[in-house]
C-alpha cells in the first residue's frame, strides 16, 4: 500500500482536527489511567483466553496446577474482561463523551483517578481470590463477594463526582449519546447492588438465585455494556462522517424500546429450567419485541454507515465502529432467535451461549471501543499513530479472530445441540466431536491475543515518538535554565 493511502486511513485519528477535539486537561490524567488499565486487563484476559482455550483442546495442559484448573481460568477470564477491560474503557468513554457534549469544563478529575485505582485494586484482589478457588460459581459474577465492597466504594466516588460535575451544568441533555451514558451509569450500580444483596449478603434460597443471576447477567450486558457502546457509535459516526445519523428523530423510540424490552427479556436463558414458566414467557415476548429497536438501529445507524461506506472503509476509527455496530445488530437478532422455544430445543446448554457472550463483549463492544481509542489516543498524546500498517493488521486480525471465534462457537454449538436431541449419542461422543470446534476457538483466541499485542505495541511506539519529540524541547529548556 502507498504511504498516501495509509495516511488517509488515519485521517480522522489525527490530533487536533477541530478545536473541540482538544481533550479537557482536567480529565486528561483520569482518561489515560482508565485506558491504560483497560488495556492491561485486555492483555491479561487475552492470555487467560488462550490458556483456557488450550485446556479445551488438550485437557492435560497445565492440569497439575490447581489454581489454573479450567473453571478458575474461565472465571478469571470473565472477570478480567467484564470488570477490567470493559468497565475501565466504559468509564473512559463515558467520561470523555460527557465532557465533550457538556459545555462547562470538568473539575475534580482527581476523584476519578482515586476511584479508578480502588477499582483496579479490588479487581486484582478478586482475581487472586478466584485463583485460590473463591469464585462464586455464578458466571459473569464470578468475583468473590468480599470484593464487592471495594467496587462499591470506587463506584460511589465516581457517582459523587458525576453528580457534582453534572448537576452544575445546563441540564439540557439533548443528545441521545448522553441518555445512554446517564442510563448506563445509573443502572450499573443498581443492578450490581441488587445481585450482591440477594445472592451474597442476604442470599435468597433455591432457584430464585438462578433467576436473579440471569436477570443480572442480562442487565449487565444490555444496560451497561451495550449503552456505552451505542453512545460511542451515536457520538463518533456523525462526528467523523460529518453527516447526521439517519432518522435521528427515531432515536428516542429506539432508546426506550431497547432499554425497556431488553431489561425485561432477562430470563430467556432459563427456558425449561425449574422456574415459573410465566416469567420465562414474559421474557420471551420482550425479547421478540426487541425487533422494534433492531429495525430502527439498522435503518439509522447501519443505514448511515452503508450510505457512506467508502468513507467508512477508509477510516481506521470508523471501520472498527462499523464492524461493532453490525455485530450488535447480529447479536440482537440471535437473541431473538434463541429465545424462541422451538429454537431453544436445539441451542440450550450449548456453546452457542458462549459465542453469544463473545459476540456482545468482543465483536460489538470491544471493536467499538477500539474505534474510540483510535480516535482518542492521538488527541491525548498529541501525536499521530506510529504505524498505519499496525492499525490495519490490528483490524484484520481482530475482525477475523472474533468472527472465527463466534462462528466456531455457533456452528459447534448447533452441532452439539442436534446431538443433544438424539438420545443414542453419548455425551462422551458429543464432547469428542466438539474437539474440532475447540481447536478453531483456540486458533481464534491466539489471533485475538496477537491483535491486542499489536495494538498495545503501536500505542507504545506512538508514546515513544511523542517522548522523542518533546525530549529535545525539555532538554533545551533545562539547558536554558542552567545558563
Amino acid at each position: 500500500m502507498s504511504l498516501n493511502q495509509s495516511a488517509d486511513f488515519l485521517s480522522s485519528t489525527k490530533p487536533g482536527d477541530q478545536a473541540l477535539d482538544v481533550v479537557d486537561k482536567s480529565i486528561h490524567l483520569s482518561l489515560c489511567y482508565f485506558i491504560i488499565s483497560g488495556l492491561a486487563w485486555l492483555l491479561i484476559g487475552s492470555v487467560l483466553g488462550v490458556v483456557g482455550g488450550m485446556k479445551m483442546v488438550d485437557p492435560s495442559f497445565l492440569a497439575s496446577f490447581e489454581f489454573l484448573t479450567y473453571g478458575r481460568v474461565q472465571a478469571a477470564l470473565n472477570s478480567s474482561l467484564m470488570m477490567g477491560w470493559v468497565s475501565n474503557i466504559a468509564f473512559a468513554i463515558a467520561l470523555w463523551i460527557m465532557a465533550r457534549l457538556s459545555a462547562a469544563p470538568v473539575s475534580h478529575g482527581g476523584v476519578l483517578l482515586i476511584a479508578g485505582v480502588i477499582w483496579n485494586v479490588g479487581l486484582s484482589i478478586g482475581l487472586l481470590g478466584i485463583f485460590i478457588g473463591d469464585m462464586t460459581s455464578l458466571t459473569w459474577l464470578d468475583l468473590p463477594s468480599y470484593t464487592s465492597g471495594i467496587f462499591l466504594l470506587s463506584y460511589s466516588l465516581i457517582a459523587v463526582w458525576g453528580l457534582v460535575t453534572f448537576s452544575n451544568r445546563n441540564n439540557n441533555y439533548s443528545f441521545v449519546s448522553q441518555w445512554y451514558i446517564i442510563g448506563a451509569l445509573l443502572w450499573f450500580p443498581w443492578v450490581y447492588v441488587i445481585a450482591q444483596f440477594f445472592l451474597f449478603w442476604f442470599p435468597v434460597r433455591g432457584v430464585t438465585q438462578s433467576i436473579i443471576h440471569a436477570w443480572y447477567v442480562n442487565s449487565i450486558f444490555y444496560l451497561w455494556i451495550a449503552p456505552i457502546g451505542l453512545a460511542a457509535a451515536y457520538y463518533l459516526i456523525p462526528k467523523i462522517l460529518r453527516v447526521p445519523i439517519r432518522a435521528y428523530h427515531m432515536s428516542s423510540l429506539a432508546f426506550w424500546s431497547f432499554v425497556f424490552f431488553s431489561s425485561w427479556s432477562g430470563l430467556f436463558s432459563l427456558i425449561g429450567a425449574p422456574v415459573p414458566v410465566w416469567l420465562v414467557t414474559v421474557s420471551i415476548v420482550s425479547s421478540i419485541s426487541l425487533l422494534i429497536p433492531i429495525i430502527i438501529y439498522s435503518y439509522s445507524i447501519l443505514g448511515t454507515l452503508i450510505s457512506k461506506i467508502s468513507e467508512v472503509l477508509k477510516d481506521a476509527s470508523l471501520i472498527f465502529i462499523a464492524f461493532g455496530c453490525f455485530a450488535f445488530i447480529e447479536q440482537l437478532i440471535i437473541k431473538v432467535l434463541i429465545s424462541i422455544r422451538a429454537v431453544d430445543t436445539f441451542t440450550h446448554f450449548t456453546l452457542i451461549y458462549e459465542g453469544f457472550d463473545w459476540h456482545l463483549i468482543y465483536a460489538f463492544f470491544s471493536m467499538v471501543a477500539f474505534g474510540v481509542l483510535y480516535h482518542l489516543i492521538p488527541q491525548l498524546l498529541k501525536q499521530e499513530w506510529a504505524s498505519g500498517l499496525l492499525v490495519k493488521l490490528h483490524f484484520i486480525l481482530s475482525a477475523l479472530g472474533v468472527s472465527l471465534l463466534v462462528l466456531a462457537l455457533y456452528i459447534g454449538g448447533w452441532v452439539q445441540g442436534m446431538q443433544f436431541s438424539q438420545p443414542e449419542v453419548s455425551f462422551l461422543a458429543i464432547a469428542t466431536d466438539l474437539k474440532f470446534w475447540m481447536q478453531l476457538k483456540f486458533a481464534s483466541l491466539i489471533m485475538l491475543l496477537l491483535a491486542n499485542s499489536i495494538f498495545v505495541l503501536n500505542i507504545l511506539a506512538t508514546v515513544a515518538q511523542r517522548l522523542l519529540s518533546v525530549l529535545p524541547i525539555i532538554s533545551t529548556l533545562k539547558s536554558n535554565r542552567a545558563d
Binding site: Y70, A75, S174, F198, S210, I211, S219, P423
Partner: protein, 222 residues
C-alpha cells in the same frame, strides 16, 4: 430530552419494573416453598395437606456431601456441568436417562448455592448418584478422566490426590486402577484420595432426585 427529570424517571422505571417482576414476585412465589411429603391427602375441610409421619423431601444431605458441594464450586465444575432435568418436548433429558422426572423449584430449596448451571460440555449431573454409584469409578474419573472415558474433554484433578508409598494404611484407601492402565502409579506406589476428593465424590453420589414431590411424580415405565 429537554426535561432531565423525565429522563431520570424513565431510567428508574425501566429497571424498577423488571426488578419488581423478576426479583420480587419470584421471591414471593418461591420463597415460601417448604419440604413436602411425597404425596398429599385431603383433610376434613377438603384441603390437600401433607401426610403426617411420612418423610419430608428434598432430604438434607450428609455433612461430607455438603463439604463436597463447596469443592464442586471451587473446582469450577459448573462451567461445564448443569444440574437440571428439563421437560419434554424441550429436551430428551428423560429419554437420555439424565433423570427419572423433571426437576422443579422445590428440589433446590435446601441448597445454599444453587448450581443449575447453563453449560453442558459434560452431562447433566443432577442424577449422577443414580447413574454411577461406584466410588472408585468417580475417584479414578476425577484423578484423570482419560482412565474411564478416553477422549473426554474434562480436565483431570490430580492435585486432589496424593502419591504415597504402598503400606497397609494407604492400600486400604488407594484407587484401584483397571488392569494394565497406563495411568496407574509405578510399582510400590499408590494414589490416595485427599479428604476433598472424598467429599466431592460423596456429594456426587448424593446427587439424585429419586423421590416424588406432589408437583413432580416419577412415572413408572415398566
Amino acid at each position: 430530552m429537554k426535561h432531565f427529570p423525565l429522563l431520570l424517571i424513565g431510567i428508574f422505571a425501566v429497571l424498577a419494573s423488571s426488578f419488581l417482576v423478576f426479583v420480587l414476585t419470584t421471591q414471593n412465589q418461591l420463597g415460601s416453598l417448604k419440604q413436602s411429603t411425597e404425596g398429599l391427602e385431603q383433610n376434613d375441610d377438603g384441603e390437600l395437606v401433607m401426610i403426617e409421619g411420612d418423610p419430608l423431601f428434598p432430604a438434607k444431605k450428609p455433612g461430607l456431601a455438603d463439604q463436597g458441594s463447596l469443592e464442586y464450586i471451587k473446582m469450577g465444575c459448573v462451567y461445564c456441568h448443569s444440574q437440571q432435568v428439563r421437560r419434554a418436548p424441550l429436551s430428551v433429558d428423560i429419554e437420555r436417562g439424565l433423570g427419572l422426572r423433571v426437576s422443579v423449584p422445590r428440589d433446590y430449596i435446601l441448597q445454599d448455592r444453587v448450581l443449575i448451571g447453563n453449560q453442558r460440555v459434560g452431562p447433566d449431573l443432577s442424577n449422577i448418584g443414580l447413574r454411577q454409584t461406584d466410588q472408585n469409578w468417580h475417584l479414578l474419573h476425577l484423578y484423570n478422566p482419560q482412565i474411564t472415558s478416553p477422549g473426554s474433554l474434562m480436565p483431570p484433578f490430580p492435585f486432589l490426590f496424593e502419591l504415597e508409598p504402598i503400606s497397609e494404611a494407604t492400600a486400604a484407601s488407594a484407587l484401584v486402577f483397571p488392569e494394565g492402565s497406563e495411568f496407574s502409579p509405578e510399582a510400590g506406589w499408590v494414589v490416595v484420595p485427599s479428604r476433598r476428593a472424598l467429599a466431592l465424590v460423596e456429594y456426587l453420589l448424593a446427587l439424585k432426585f429419586d423421590y416424588n414431590l406432589p408437583e413432580a411424580i416419577i412415572l413408572e415405565n415398566e
